[in-house]
Symmetry: C2
Subunit: 101 residues, 2 copies
Amino acid sequence: MADDPGVAAELAELRASIDNIDAAMIYMLAERFRCTKRVGALKAQHDLPPADPAREEVQVARLRRLALEARLDPEFAEKYLGFIIREVIRHHEKFPRRPSC
Amino acid sequence: MADDPGVAAELAELRASIDNIDAAMIYMLAERFRCTKRVGALKAQHDLPPADPAREEVQVARLRRLALEARLDPEFAEKYLGFIIREVIRHHEKFPRRPSC
């Protein structure tokens, strides 16, 4: 791909960092879903709705603030949370709910 | 939301873990985009295409394998990479390219 060996070496170095970060992200995502699965089970057990718009609003504001501190686009931080929450809700909807009687 | 104080406390504990994980994720994403921005600049400088399907194939296979180890849905790991790569390509396309002459 890159004919210049200097460029190829620099690309390889950057990609090694990206791969390390991705591995860490996969393990963090696994842990995050372990937590949200427990939240989902608790909510199903106690007849609480899967989504919680008030909590999500607080999360969005906080992640946007953290993104600014980290020099990450706050719009992207919000997209990230939306992406994760869609998956979490998909998990929660799998839990059988106690019939409302 | 949860009337039972035990349930509310358990939810609060789980959410504190989720919030810690999300903060870490934001800082990791910021670092990942610092790397990909440098990759993007390098590619633009040396007239290399922004997307790299061969590299992406290797990344997908690796992340699916790591996901299995972490007990995360491999489909989700692949969705995560797609989500990130779409953002990376959006960044790369912002870099001015040397005209092909």
